[in-house]
Symmetry: C2
Subunit: 412 residues, 2 copies
C-alpha cells in the first residue's frame, strides 16, 4: 500500500521581515537575519563549496580544560550557514563567527517543527589530522529527514566538503586525547514567515560544533532502564525513523518519569506484543543464547520505520558480521519482545545488552524494569560492561581515530 | 496500563549567549534576545497580568484592504511576550512592537521541537466591542500541549486577560464586516541553549496576530479529499491529540501528494480497518442515515488520542446536541470506517460531510478519493454545502460575533 512520498516542493512566497526595535527587558545584540529571497532566472543551485565565504572571528574564545567539557554546552568560535530558497536554490555557504539567529516570530520552524538534524563527530588522530566518521551515512539520513518534511535536499559530498573545512578551521578546539572529539550538529530549519501550513519556501542549513569529552570519563558505567508501556515513540507509517526535531520533545516526559524512579533511560516498547525498539535516544542490542540450540546471537530491531536508522547501529552490525560471526556468533536484525529478553534472563541465556549511538558509542545496560520486576541483563555486580560492548567500543574508536585505517574514516 | 505522565520539570541550566557580529550577506537588524536567567530566592511565579509593560510602536503599519488579507501573512503592529525560566517562573508580560526573535543556534526549539501553539480569533461585534470565542478551551489545550513536552504551564485566566488586552490594542486591524476577524497565534517555545536532550530550563510564550477575511469570500466551496493510506498521522499513546509543532511538518508531504492529484486536502485513515480520523488540519463530520432504522445521525471520531481535540469540533457537537437532536438527529462520537462512508454513499444514505476548524469553521466536502474510486458525499453538482454545514456556520458566527449572546463569547 506504500506509494512514493517525496516529490519537489510546491511554491510559497517568503516575506521580508520588518526592521524593528528592541525592548527594555530584552538584551539587545546584533545578529543575522535571513536574506530576503532574490529574484533569479537560473535554475535552483545545489550547494557549492567553491563559493564558500569565510569571515573569521576577531575575538577567539578561550579553550576549556578538556575535563570541564559538557556535551552540547560549549561551542566553537564559528558556525557554517547555507541559506536556501525555492527560487535560487542553495546560496553561497558562509563560515561566520558563532552568533544568534534573527527570525520573525511567524517563522514556520517555531510553529510546525520544520526542522531536522544530524549528530556526528570529528576526531584528531595521532598525526594531528582531523577525521570524520562515515559522514556519507549522516548526509544520506539528513537528506531523507529533510525530504520527509518538505525541506530541500542537497549533494552529500558538497556538505561533507564544507563540514571538513569547518572542522579543520576549529581544529584547536579538538583535544588530542582518545575519547575526545568535536561534536558536529548539522541542522536544517524552515524559515518561511507565514502561518499557512505548507512546504517552506525558504530554509537555513547550519552547522555548529561543540568539543566533547568521553561519555564515560572513568570507564563504562552500566545503566538501568525502565520499559515504557504508556507512551509510544514511533509507529509504522509515521516518521520515527527520521532524525526530526518532532521525534524528540515528546520523549522527554517518559524519560523524566523513568529518571524520577531511579532509571537512567527509558526503553521504548511497541504494540501489545511489547516489541523492543530503542532505548532513550539510542538503538538497542541484546546478546543471548538460543533457547533450543545454545547458538550465541546478537539481536537488534529491524529498520521497519519504528526505529532511528543509527549510524552506530549500522557500524556495530557491520563489525559484528566481520569479527563476531567468524567466532561463531549469529547476527540478527529482527523483531524481538521484552518477554523474550525476560525468558533469556530467567534461563541464564542473556549474555549482555547495550545501547548504541554517536554520543556514547555503546552504553552497557545492567537491568530493565518491566511489569514491576527488574530483568537483569547478564552483568555481574562488579562488572560495568559485557565483552561485546567493550570490544565494540575499542573497534569503533580504532577506526574513528584512524589507528585501524578504514574507509569509514574520512580524513579532512 | 496508563500511568500519569506529567510532573514538574527537572532542572537544566541555561547559558547566556555571546554578543556577536553580523555578516555581509545577512540583513542586519536590531531585535530582542531572551533575558539571561536571573537568580531568585522566591518560588516560581505564575503569569501576572498586573505586571504588563506596554511599549507601543512609533511606526504604526498601514491597514490592508480587507479583501487583500491573506491568512497568516500580515501581522499587526505589536506582539505579546512572556518569558519563563525554572528559577523565577513567568516574568513580567510585555506588549512590544512586532519584531524578530534573536536566538542562539543551539536553542532547543530548533533541534528537538520544543514548541506548541493555539489558533483562536478575536471578532468585532455590532457595537465595536472585541470578543474572543471560548478562549478557556484554547488555554486548557495549550496547557495540555505544553505539559506533554515538558514546557511550563500557567493560569488560563491570566493569559486570557493579556490576550484580551492585546486584541483591544490591535482593534483597528479588525475589519467590522461579518466573516472578518483577528487570527491570534499563542505560541510557546523552549529557549534553553544546550544540545543535551532534556526538559527546557527556559521558555518564551508569545502571541502574534494576523487580520483575516472569510475562508470562503464568495460563499462555500466544497472541497475534495484524498484518503491517505500510506502515511499515519497519529497513534494511540502518541501525541497526535496535542497541538504540537511536531504534528504538523510530517503532514505536508501527504498533503502535497493529495494536491498534486487535484485534491484540496488529505483524509487521515487509521489502521487496517481504515478508521476515519481527521481531514488535513481539521476534524471531520459525516451526516448519514442508519442502514437499519433510517435514523439521521451526525458522526465524528472520538477523542481516543489519535485526533486533535478541536474547539470547533466541540462547538459543533454541542450545537448539534442542542439544536439538531430535538429535530430527531442522533449525535455520535464513535469510531467509523471509510468502508462505512462508502456503503452509505452507495446506498444513498450519505447526507453530507464537512471538516471543522478555527480557520473555516466548517468546510463542506464534495468527495473522497479512496481505493481508486471517488466516494460522493451527498452534495448535488450545483450545491457547495449541505444543510447542516450551512446551519453550523451561521449558528457559530452568531455566537462569535455576539448576535446570539452566549457564554462562549468572551467580551474583552
Amino acid at each position: 500500500m506504500m506509494r512514493p512520498m517525496f516529490s519537489r516542493c510546491a511554491p510559497l512566497r517568503a516575506a521580508i521581515p520588518p526592521v524593528s526595535r528592541s525592548l527594555g527587558v530584552f538584551q539587545s545584540v546584533r545578529q543575522y537575519s535571513i536574506t530576503p529571497e532574490a529574484a533569479s532566472d537560473s535554475k535552483p543551485q545545489d550547494i557549492d563549496p567553491s563559493k564558500l565565504v569565510v569571515e573569521k572571528t576577531t575575538t577567539p574564545g578561550a579553550l576549556k580544560k578538556p575535563e570541564d567539557l559538557i556535551f552540547g554546552r560549549n561551542f566553537t568560535d564559528h558556525m557554517l550557514t547555507i541559506e536556501w530558497n525555492k527560487t535560487s536554490g542553495w546560496l553561497a555557504p558562509h563560515i561566520t563567527p558563532y552568533q544568534n539567529l534573527s527570525l520573525d516570530p511567524a517563522t514556520c520552524v517555531f510553529h510546525y517543527a520544520f526542522e531536522c538534524f544530524e549528530g556526528m563527530k570529528a576526531y584528531k588522530d595521532r598525526e594531528g589530522k582531523i577525521r570524520l566518521f562515515r559522514p556519507d551515512k549522516n548526509m544520506e539520513r539528513f537528506n531523507k529527514s529533510a525530504a520527509r518534511i518538505a525541506l530541500p535536499t542537497f549533494a552529500p559530498t558538497a556538505l561533507i566538503d564544507l563540514i571538513a573545512t569547518f572542522a579543520k578551521l576549529e581544529s584547536r578546539f579538538i583535544p588530542e586525547q582518545r575519547g575526545y572529539s568535536l561534536y558536529l550538529r548539522p541542522t536544517m530549519i524552515g524559515t518561511q514567515k507565514t502561518l499557512g501550513v505548507g512546504p517552506p519556501g525558504s530554509a537555513l542549513l547550519y552547522v555548529i560544533a561543540s568539543p566533547v569529552g568521553p561519555y564515560y570519563p572513568t570507564g563504562f558505567k552500566a545503566v538501568s532502564l525502565e520499559a515504557t508501556d504508556y507512551a509510544v515513540r514511533a509507529w509504522p507509517g509515521g516518521v520515527g525513523d527520521k532524525k526530526l526535531g518532532a521525534n524528540y520533545a515528546p520523549c522527554i516526559v517518559p524519560q523524566r518519569e523513568a529518571m524520577s524512579r531511579g532509571f537512567q533511560q527509558n526503553l521504548w516498547l511497541f504494540g501489545e506484543e511489547e516489541y523492543v525498539t530503542e532505548v532513550g535516544t539510542m538503538n538497542f542490542f541484546v546478546a543471548m543464547r538460543d533457547k533450543e540450540t545454545g547458538q550465541k546471537t546478537l539481536v537488534t530491531a529491524p529498520l521497519d520505520g519504528t526505529i532511528l536508522e543509527g549510524v552506530t547501529r549500522d557500524s556495530v552490525l557491520s563489525l559484528a558480521r566481520e569479527r563476531l560471526a567468524p567466532e561463531g556468533w549469529k547476527i540478527e536484525e529482527r523483531k524481538y519482545t521484552m518477554k523474550e529478553i525476560d525468558e533469556a534472563a530467567n534461563e541464564g541465556r542473556l549474555i549482555e545488552a547495550f545501547g548504541a549511538g554517536t554520543a556514547a558509542i555503546v552504553s552497557p545496560v545492567r537491568s530493565i524494569s518491566w511489569r514491576g520486576k527488574l530483568v537483569h541483563c547478564g552483568l555481574q555486580d562488579h562488572e560495568e560492561s559485557g565483552e561485546i560492548a567493550a570490544k565494540m567500543k575499542t573497534w569503533m574508536e580504532d577506526r574513528q581515530y584512524g589507528d585501524d585505517e578504514h574507509e569509514w574514516s574520512y580524513v579532512c
